[in-house]
Symmetry: C2
Subunit: 199 residues, 2 copies
């Protein structure tokens, strides 16, 4: 299978690319690095990416920015960061990418444990994650022509503890390689509309 990984240069994306490269042709896409570049907040950039890669069998996104900050001081402009980047970025990848998927292809997005387990300063992340899981539920039901769509919800990664560990006190981290298995389950499996929790 020809698998495109958006966010392939990040901590999680690298592990996902490694995991999938054992069986598939992986196209590694980053924002500034990788084989190709894409800006998911820009529809034209997404279209240009697929025009370069041609049709694929699986689309994976392991990327997306959210805003961390106290709810009592948050503004709508700050809130838009997660809505436009992690949320709409991944959704627009689906809206455009669906037209570049081969028959029986799959899409796998990324939410995170904060959907269900909120942390201090994380309301923007929880909101974006919950929206993505809702999107996948509805999209899986509406895709009636063989396209599957799932989402992986990892907890904090062992490799990210230096950067994010202070947000996730008491959370048991997982290795990126373990989180990556869930993407294989989505790409190589038969399910659709699933949230694969890795925690």
């Amino acid at each position: 299978m020809k698998v495109i990984v958006i966010g392939a240069t990040g901590t999680l994306g690298k592990a996902v690319s490694n995991e999938l490269a054992a069986r598939h042709d992986v196209i590694e896409v980053g924002k500034h690095k990788g084989q190709y570049q894409v800006d998911l907040t820009n529809s034209e950039s997404i279209k240009a990416l697929f025009e370069k890669t041609g049709k694929v069998d699986a689309i994976i996104a392991t990327t997306g920015k959210v805003h961390f900050g106290p709810l009592t001081e948050m503004t709508a402009e700050q809130f838009k960061i997660g809505l436009h980047d992690k949320l709409l970025g991944q959704i627009d990848l689906v809206l455009i990418g669906q037209h570049y998927l081969n028959a029986g292809g799959s899409i796998t997005l990324t939410s995170g444990i904060l959907t269900e387990q909120p942390i201090r300063l994380g309301v923007n992340a929880t909101t974006a994650n919950a929206a993505l899981e809702g999107f996948v539920l509805a999209a899986a039901a509406e895709f009636s022509h063989g396209i599957r769509i799932n989402i992986v919800s990892p907890t904090v990664l062992q490799e990210s503890l230096k950067s994010y560990g202070s947000f996730f006190i008491g959370f048991e981290p997982v290795a990126a390689s373990r989180a990556a298995l869930a993407y294989s389950r989505s790409v190589d499996g038969i399910q659709t509309g699933q949230v694969y929790r890795v925690w």
Copy 2:
């Protein structure tokens, strides 16, 4: 209690205002009608509203637009309708309104059955609703100074069947007056972080 109902001129909002007016002072707010007007997609408009009303004990939103259309033809611009109107509109009401709530005050938002039960053409609605429920989960945990926040998820209303019935074939409708009870439970009750399903 002084209760402000945003969307009070709509089908659900009217029933909520009636239900709450039996015990509380209700300020009815619409987009074009009502005692005051507000545009929830505009932070300045929300601030101006609260400057007029002064502090309140409960904030309720029963409003929000989403885009209905086929996923296979949807664009990011169409998807933004639900994200900016129903989703960010209600969230910005919280971000600003929290500063105009009296001690022990409450906020009650509105999602809908599509969060969990998707329908054809409804992916934008499911996404916005799921995001709002996620937001309420995280916000309730982060509000540590006595502010409560809940969300009501009604199914299709009997009064709305003429407009929306064709989207909700097989769904059992409820009277707006029954859905309105859930808002009383939120305003007059003690819970926080709850999704009150009326279906």
